[in-house]
Symmetry: C2
Subunit: 219 residues, 2 copies
């Protein structure tokens, strides 16, 4: 945690090492939030005898339409194959997940929750209740703006290669930003052929298809 200057700065002065003061404080705020998320997930998992990555794997497995492979999960969590393989083995020992050869290519293995895994996962999903309870007090417009801001940020970081995986609207080829005049529902999803607003932006859409040429100058 970096220190802050002696006086509150509210102008955007470009500073010595990259980013304005506001930008750096915003990054610090994101770090604080990240810490909260980590802590909440950890607490939820610990009492159930699970480790952080095991929890994240279970949560990810739940609600996937098609079961992922080891390499998918490694890319998703930005860790090595070995690490995921290890954690998956632990979950298999606890009989929370099932492993099968990928029917499409029998070198690969795909994973799915067992019934016990489903039940536990439903419980783990409650890690966020302290946050959602707190959010209930916030204004809908503020929340929609925050959602859009955060997704634009992760979308941007995905485009610059920082993040390997991002299945959010703002990186999807079906997404058309500000396609409509209606300020309530400016965006458009070409897959569902529906207009929608910031508050409906998806974080992790099952139908997501990457808009690869996002970094090209033309189009």
């Amino acid at each position: 945690m970096e220190a802050e200057g002696a006086l509150p700065a509210d102008r955007a002065e470009p500073s010595a090492d990259g980013g304005t003061d506001l930008d750096r404080r915003l990054a610090m705020a994101l770090e604080r939030v990240g810490h909260v998320v980590r802590t909440l997930q950890w607490r939820q998992a610990y009492t159930r005898g699970l480790s952080p990555i095991q929890t994240r794997l279970l949560l990810h497995l739940s609600g996937r339409t098609r079961p992922p492979r080891v390499s998918d999960l490694a890319a998703e969590f930005d860790v090595s194959l070995a690490t995921v393989s290890d954690a998956l083995a632990a979950l298999r020992r606890k009989e929370l997940i099932r492993r099968e050869p990928d029917p499409a290519d029998r070198r690969g293995r795909v994973f799915a929750l067992t019934d016990a895994g489903e039940r536990l996962t439903a419980d783990l999903e409650r890690w966020s209740t302290p946050i959602t309870e707190r959010l209930a007090a916030c204004g809908e417009a503020d929340k929609a703006a925050a959602l859009r801001f955060l997704l634009d940020l992760v979308g941007g970081l995905h485009d610059t290669g920082v993040l390997a995986i991002a299945r959010t609207c703002v990186t999807c080829r079906f997404f058309v930003r500000d396609a409509h005049d209606d300020p309530r529902r400016p965006h458009h999803c070409r897959l569902l052929d529906t207009p929608f607003g910031d508050a409906a932006l998806r974080v992790d859409c099952a139908e997501h298809q990457s808009a690869e040429p996002a970094s090209l100058p033309g189009e």
Copy 2:
């Protein structure tokens, strides 16, 4: 990662397990951001031969006015004394930090960066450049709103006891929200006796003093 419904929902329908759909998606977005922060810090640290908690300790030590004790650091990072003690020992072996008995109470130990530690820390602080670079493209008003939103969230979670430590304006006894009519600088800091706006909100203020009775109904 929970799955999302088949249609984009932009109304605030209270859902089965706590929180509206928007609230849950916002929590997921915060998780994504947390993942990005973790990943960036990890990458910055790994090539320097440091582990995540070692990095966080170094960053925290830098720019503290008074050197913290082991128990302070444990509370800060929501881990046990043993864990911090361990990581501090590793940093001491690498001669990045110095340990001394607390002059005020010689049971305690206080820690400060060595010169080598200072130099390395200046480098580690650059973990956030991918984020700040991306933020440079965002509007100042959006960033100020996001900063305020995030700090209100961590402030709220601090009040409800989820987070032990929060040295942000919104939890400080010197902070008066919306004290002035000027929409550019509505808030007031009673310590510095200065009005300021959302964009100047601090994340980790050295002068912070906890506003304890925040949870009381009266006042």
